[in-house]
Symmetry: C2
Subunit: 495 residues, 2 copies
């Protein structure tokens, strides 16, 4: 397929003006109910047409018997009815002038020989009728930029720059759920299903030119044409970091993958070695896909591997320095000038080195001064800031018990303390983002606690966002991968 055709086909799928759902339902939990209620609850701006043979109204919308009964144009059709009904529906779609079809229905090539044949048949129909086909056996698609959430899981991440392509629907949707919880902005999600018409490589080529997408996340179990995939991936990775999890990297995983997607994944160790040669960011577990997405989509790339650490308590500085060393990052000593400047704010027994241990200070300026002093110095490429954002949680616990036990401390005063610490965290986040813009070096936060806000905290008007991981190991891992990617880009002479 030419890239032009691919692009116009998939554009219609990801930005439809009108959508029909064949098999739409008001029976709670059926696929036809999951999809239509998600599209409507997500505030899709286009038109929505439920299609089924019995009902009059679904979600308050008139129901059509067949696609051909819909009196207006339809860009995209979801099908959730049994496999045997699909060829007929596709014929109607063709007649109606539909552009794309998302085929949720399973029971095709993932089952048996008859299923394989049926899958070949429907691809033929789609090609004949000029229909772009996603799936079959897909969990759906998401495009937050146009408020289009059309999957079985009702999770709706913010719009953003990270595209997700997943060969496992179940795993892919959980990734999207995590993206929502962590505040990671999404440009597109697609569950590629059986890949009857489009492979992961095709989606990659589409995303290469998608202006919303800056980072691409892939969950793969098998790649049909490995060398073509790698050629495309290598090219795209130079412009848009490609974060890849290959399921089936061990014998046990390969066996599981074979029974899951039905195709052998081949020589995995070779595949992964080549991935690394191409500079792809291959990871071991799904949670890393999200961690890397947060960092790469929100922070400037570090120019080198020298890290400054700012901490409220010594122990966290120690374990963070350990993690940095373990992952090939350096924690250089800092010059006398910086020690003097930061020292003005601290008691005489402070650490006087890197990590900068603020010994539990309650001074609100020194955490910011310390980060800026480190960023200013050309011996540092990135800063990790521990425990400043996140401290609010401990303050809240303290005000809560103080309210209970000491009525000599006024409730208004405690309200004020809570409000101030909330404001401070917001202000601190904004300052970190401003500092990143000024010095073009990443500042990675570690909250040390589970907070209600996500990992990523956008600051309006800035290309960067505050990023606060829960643990130092997450922050250090992401930073080390950003250093690795930057080195790859530099070696390629691309920046």
């Amino acid at each position: 397929m030419t890239v032009d055709k691919l692009e116009s086909g998939l554009n219609a799928v990801f930005s439809p003006r009108s959508v029909a759902i064949v098999g739409a339902s008001s029976t709670f939990g059926k696929w036809g109910q999951l999809i239509i209620s998600n599209i409507i609850a997500g505030h899709f701006q286009g038109k929505v047409f439920p299609v089924n043979p019995k009902d009059e109204l679904i979600c308050g919308l008139p129901v059509y018997r067949r696609i051909l009964d819909i009196p207006e144009p339809v860009d995209l059709v979801f099908i959730t009815t049994p496999a045997s009904t699909v060829p007929g529906i596709l014929e109607e779609c063709g007649e109606k002038g539909v552009k794309g079809v998302v085929l949720i229905t399973s029971g095709f090539s993932e089952t048996d020989e008859a299923g394989k044949e049926l899958e070949r048949d429907i691809v033929n129909i789609c090609q004949e009728k000029g229909l772009t086909l996603i799936g079959p056996n897909t969990m759906g698609i998401i495009c937050p930029d146009v408020n289009f959430f059309a999957t079985g899981a009702h999770t709706r991440p913010e719009k953003g720059s990270v595209a997700f392509v997943s060969q496992s629907g179940n795993l892919g949707l959980q990734l999207i759920h995590w993206a929502e919880q962590q505040g990671i902005g999404v440009s597109v999600f697609v569950g590629s299903g059986n890949e009857a018409m489009f492979t992961c490589t095709d989606y990659l080529e589409y995303l290469e030119n998608d202006t919303c997408t800056k980072i691409i996340v892939l969950y793969l179990e098998s790649v049909a044409e490995g060398s073509h995939f790698l050629e495309v991936a290598r090219r795209i990775n130079r412009k848009k970091p490609l974060i890849v999890l290959k399921g089936g990297r061990t014998e046990a995983g390969r066996m599981a993958a074979a029974s899951h997607t039905g195709s052998m994944s081949g020589e995995d160790s070779i595949f992964r070695a080549v991935c690394r040669q191409c500079g792809l960011l291959d990871v071991n577990v799904p949670s890393e896909l999200l961690d890397l997405s947060a960092g790469f989509s929100s922070l400037p790339l570090p120019k080198g591997k020298r890290v400054g650490i700012v901490t409220l308590g010594g122990g966290w500085g120690v374990v963070t320095a350990d993690e940095c060393n373990q992952r090939g990052l350096e924690v250089p000593d800092i010059p006398e000038g910086i020690v003097k400047t930061i020292g003005k704010y601290l008691p005489p027994f402070w650490s006087k080195g890197n990590p900068v241990d603020l010994v539990g200070t309650r001074d609100l300026d020194v955490p910011i001064v310390a980060v800026e002093e480190l960023l200013k110095w050309d011996g540092i490429d990135a800063v990790i800031s521990l425990g400043i954002v996140g401290r609010m949680e401990l303050v809240r616990l303290l005000t809560e018990s103080t309210r209970k036990v000491d009525n000599s401390i006024s409730s208004e005063f405690l309200d004020q303390i809570e409000a101030l610490s909330q404001q401070y965290e917001k202000m601190y986040t904004t300052r970190m983002v401003e500092l990143m813009e000024t010095y073009e070096k990443p500042v990675i936060g570690v909250s040390l606690t589970r907070t209600e806000q996500g990992t990523v905290r956008p600051v309006p008007g800035s290309p960067y966002s505050g990023v606060f991981y829960q643990t130092p190991e997450n922050a250090v891992n992401v930073l080390s991968r950003m250093v690795e990617y930057r080195r790859f880009i530099d070696e390629q002479g691309l920046k």
Copy 2:
């Protein structure tokens, strides 16, 4: 110090009947306010006596000018006043017949020569007066069994079987906060501070005979007498698993530790190698301390390394199998009989192997049947169950949007769905715990989502608890460490 004396001294500290706080305060955020409000808000059952020279009432309690003014016996005294005031207060404590002192105050051996001398002086006073001294420079202690929470951070975990000893107060308290969030029950927490009188090794010896404590977590930066520590640790680890994080395991970490606790940590690689020889569970990052605590305190030890995996979706089965292989666990194929039994509940195209992929079933019985079938078989030592507990979160998202968009589905019906899925997760947890009792094999859950409930979910009356990690890699890591510990115990001929 003899073990008897150690025991009686520390018993008085961890189970006091009455407590005085010298430096008690109503000034929000001062140490004297943090400690007393925490003790009272935590519902300590003993008597509490604030001591300071100015106030009349603190937290509604009468304030005494000096320790000697308190008209009743005092078991334990917290001191938060400046270092220079401490010797005098200790003299008074001696006169009063106080048993233990928790010295929060800093400014001793962690600062300079004068501080070191002052610390020697106060140890002398304590020894002369028969006072048990914790600290100085400690963040306090916790003993949930008697509702005694006396630290600066107002976090109050449930009572349980895990003891925490930390050379870093800041890091230690965050661990306790995580323990609370994750539902891990705590027997004792102590921040060992400068260890003027008791070292970590002493605390270990105390915990050896503490009947509440079954698991011990240590955060170390330096060990004064390494060989004595290892001898004690080796002995105790055979009875109570000892989970250790040694800060300063790299050059950068060592430098940071030197400036934090003031003492060099010596040849770390040798120390760690010996730890492993002793079968200690050494970990790399603080979050692992919690993960292992949850598993070791809640699950039976696996007899071997063969894992059954039950999943709602294929992708998660694949990545979990990969992680198992990666960490030295096996995912054996399952016999025809089990395939048949489970197959009765599933469509014909299910995986028919291990991982058992339940292909998104909504049948409420089959997840339990699958786990039990695997446990019954003597080819399996442990089961990992993915996505069953945790699914409620996705159900809740679905009911929420259905309520908004489809008024043909009644609100009562949706309430019922939510209640049922909540009940099911509770029932499932109870069943898993019953199965663990029946088969004496661990079942480790993975929720795949951030849930409001913690990692550990106790089931009243059972020695075991449900354990649900957020990601498969956490579950697999813990399982692999349990296999390792069990092997060590077996090799020692201890079980």
